[in-house]
Subunit: 349 residues, 4 copies
């Protein structure tokens, strides 16, 4: 029962097969091969507009270079208090922006409250040089705690960005999981709502290593080839990323894989709702389920072979932990089997 | 006839098979799986000592993080004038070191002249704060122009480093090619000669994406986990790199692949020596052959399907180009077939 | 009535006279003149030990270079939530450390609560690379809100630092004001309590531009000459800083000036305690007085010529503002006259 | 006989007097006082157009922030091989631009040859991401070796910049000396010739510490307040810089001081031309004289109290040094007395 993280899974067989298929022959390096161009074109189709796409190696790279692209001296970016960029990237966003800061914004369910966002932005009045200047807002979709911004919630954040002249970034490490959860189109979840730049993650959803930085207005990406190369993120054999994306997008595989993961998460959710020993921390909407149990129960689950991550209770936890209770994160993926879920269900009753 | 670069090749079938083999199942992420540990152990065996190994995604990352590891304020690194770090990495080494500079050192055959190196280092007297302070020497093995430092040449550079208290870095993007060219052990080509830290490249020699930073004194690598993560080079599914290295090292595959590439380069060399239209720019020792021809000959080769890179004549070119002559770089790899070489031979006569 | 800031004052006549005295003649540049050496020696005497001293131009420079000196990759520094480094330096500390982060620590009276500090440090377990690693603790003495860490309060913070192996920095922009408030020696307020490195400010206390970075273990300052020069903080005519320090330290002028400022602040405090319209926000201990009044009262004070800074109510404000109340900061300095204070007293009744 | 550097002088009495004059009273901090505004207006008058002016503390700061203002990812700046930015700033320009590189350009008399500049720029073709992208050209006026770009020489460099879309920076650490040497207006030596941004130095010409960054198109300076503050170069008591500039510009003092220095340099030149023991290295045009003598002569001069800097012979030295000859730099300033020059003359015969 591997629920530790979606990055404990390997690669979907179609992804592996595509890589092997493209292992032979010669192809231009550094993103200039026919296959690379074809995948860039696929991104245009998926987003229903011309976009600028830059493959990178990690989600941290995508997020950091997104912020580097819209960087400003003394810049301040705003993200949810529990966001990956501020909590789990070892300062990479600050490093690649030469010290631009991240300000945590509170909000329930792992999502920024737009009113709190407004108040935080107001702390940085134009021309008060001592505080710095607003530079970006970053939302995570799906969020770090398995919830999903509804379209009108993205609208509300985007409106704040627009009225303050601040670009909006979306960390889409689990983009596909959010997409199938909302059942809308990629365009409807991003640029049509005001997202300017995004980190498009595929690694957690069945690839080995396939991340992309997508800029919706290609004009604004003019320095990105240099930003990426200087950041050591221009791969020589780019076909090994393109080949993964080729299979990922073929016949809607990516959406199928995300749907599978989300369905398994919903099954876990129902197990927990019916359990007398474990309760849901909040309602899961994508492929992460957070649950509360006594330390004893958690230990027993672990002894029985259930691999999960203990989680620091976030500020926004709706109901505080009781003494001796712990918070557990259970993540599903394309590779989560019914058998794993069923075994968990047996243990959780 | 693809001689543009060794990174135009894909992956060797054994590498691809290993990846597919490890596609299934669950494994701990971020470099903590059993497979990751096993590969680290393989590096110890290969280098005949305990080393610290850090997988990264690109050769530029390996070089840049090597310099970042031994970084100093106002630091100055010394490398050959034609080295990859100074010519072809878009300033990544300067970026990751926050502005540490690279000083070009001249020398014949693409190799630093140790006497010139001494003179360049002397330009930075201790305590003259205005110039900055020496921080690293970096050699490329095999060099950017297909030559190889002989063991005693490495000794001479290492002696300069030692007497100045400067660490020695080796850019081993084509490490295996140099190794089989010299027919010595990895230990004998590196730490036994005074190399402190190296970029171990496997991508050009049959992998898709497998690079490693090797620190010979693990004590000096204590901050590297943070340096790598902050640089967005810690991959989540590290098994996709480990799996490549597993096959790469199995049964000496890596040395076989490098030998094949070198042999094909020697064949090209002999074709050119016998050609009346093309001449060698200098003697190749690894898997790169540089040749001089009239523009007309070069164009005809290209028309006939020979893909190669035009090359800016380096300062150290032994015999200057005649008017209308051009310099061509021909690179062989594990994937270079006899047929390609034979067709080139036919055209070159 | 100028209470806007202590940096609205000019220079004390003795400081100006010393500068004019040293205007003539020739002296070695870049910190190597006899006068520079003599001032460095004065610092040794003042701190009762050999220290390494580096003149810089601004308090922001001193703080930023202090953190740059003890910088670590993925580094995290801890400071009070209202500290100057985190609130008012436009990201300079993050810039000079290439992205090392500042984590706000809560505590009453503008001072870090050592227990909260412990909990914040515990959020960064050794070897959990994703969060980063603790790198420094920074306290401000006197604090940003005019309070002063008592000796045992510094001891408590220093104990946390020691047990976690983290160096302790003191931002002494108002060092002299704290010193005379506590009536202890510079050594007793710093290295004898566990402070490793400090920003020694003289600008706010009667100089034009005289700041210094003091490292208590000179061995740890070996790279600082390069850090400072690379940061564009090595002045050519260093005598213009040394001359200020010469007068500043002569006959205890610096302590007299700080005492004067503190006395004036105490007078303001008593006015406010006796006022029916204004109340103290908290007890002032150095040369800053924070007071609460209705917006109407504040406006009237301003109309009558009282210059002060409106202040965002900090989280640690003991008694929340009533509706229509505002917080005012009143800062005294060596230049604050009795007349100014008396006029304020008249208005405040 | 102090000819070591113009920064061995102190401050002109008028400068010192102005500082003392402004020592009293209260003034708004951080560049917002009436005096600060008045000096900014003086810069507009001096340059005959509206400019954006930013005071900083050192010439290295002015140069580095100028490059930071026009920074680009993977950026490459071009300057003369002997320029201060590339030789004597400990990597500060690289640091403040996060690794943008400086490429040395050769040319006689310490001045870039525009044809060589063209060839160097051509090494960085647009879209060849591996090399980086051209970002700035920087000229020094007067040059590091005491020569001066003639107006048509600036035109030629500016034409190269324009045709390549690269901004032109002027390092004016000795701006006034060049100005009086050419006897043209500040506008004619800068923006009317195509200079976009400049470092305006006054420290070497009679101030203690007064440097400014001047941007000729204020629109392009919008981020500079944040760039400067983040670089720790925003002084709180800016009046101490403004007061220096007030006296510096009053009644053309700055031009008088530069003329004095240049006249003294011409006297040194004539001494040397008449000397049998010393010869001119090249023709001085501003306030620096470079001379060649036997080591014995140089030692004797030093013994007799002549303070000068030994200088590494630049590549562009017209006539190579004989064995046992050394190169000496003699710098004059506002403070160089006739007596010093006469004593030198006596010794030099």
């Amino acid at each position: 029962m591997f629920f530790a993280s979606d990055n404990w899974a390997g690669a979907h067989p179609e992804i592996a097969a595509s890589l092997s298929h493209h292992a032979t022959g010669f192809a231009a390096a550094y993103g200039t091969s026919d296959l690379d161009r074809a995948i860039e074109q696929r991104f245009n189709e998926i987003f229903e507009r011309e976009v600028a796409v830059f493959f990178v190696g990690t989600g941290t790279a995508a997020n950091s270079l997104a912020l580097a692209t819209i960087n400003r001296p003394g810049g301040v970016s705003f993200c949810h208090r529990e966001a990956h960029v501020i909590e789990d990237e070892c300062g990479a966003p600050e490093f690649f922006t030469h010290g631009a800061r991240l300000v945590p914004v509170d909000g329930p369910d792992g999502k920024m409250d737009p009113n709190v966002l407004v108040r935080e932005i107001e702390r940085f009045p134009a021309d008060f040089v001592h505080h710095g200047q607003p530079m970006a807002v970053s939302i995570t979709q799906a969020t770090e705690i398995g919830t999903v911004y509804a379209p009108d919630e993205i609208d509300a954040i985007a409106a704040v960005c627009r009225s303050n002249g601040i670009p909006l970034h979306m960390d889409g490490a689990r983009f596909a999981n959010a997409l199938v959860s909302l059942d809308i189109s990629p365009a409807d979840m991003t640029w049509k709502r005001g997202v300017d730049i995004m980190s498009f993650g595929a690694t957690k959803n069945g690839c080995w290593c396939a991340e992309a930085l997508v800029v919706f207005d290609p004009e604004k990406a003019r320095d990105l080839p240099f930003i990426r190369k200087r950041a050591a993120q221009l791969f020589s054999k780019t076909r090994f990323i393109s080949a993964q994306f080729e299979a990922y997008f073929a016949d809607g595989l990516w959406l199928d894989l995300a749907r599978h993961a989300n369905v398994q998460a919903q099954k876990l959710k129902r197990c927990i709702e019916q359990s007398s020993k474990i309760r849901l921390a909040w309602q899961p909407q994508a492929n992460e389920v957070f649950a509360v149990a006594s330390r004893e129960t958690a230990d027993r689950l672990r002894e029985k072979g259930c691999v999960f991550a203990p989680w620091n209770p976030p500020r926004s936890l709706p109901r505080p932990l009781e003494k001796e209770e712990v918070l557990m994160r259970l993540v599903t993926s394309f590779a989560t089997t019914d058998e794993h879920v069923d075994r968990f269900a047996d243990l959780a009753i």
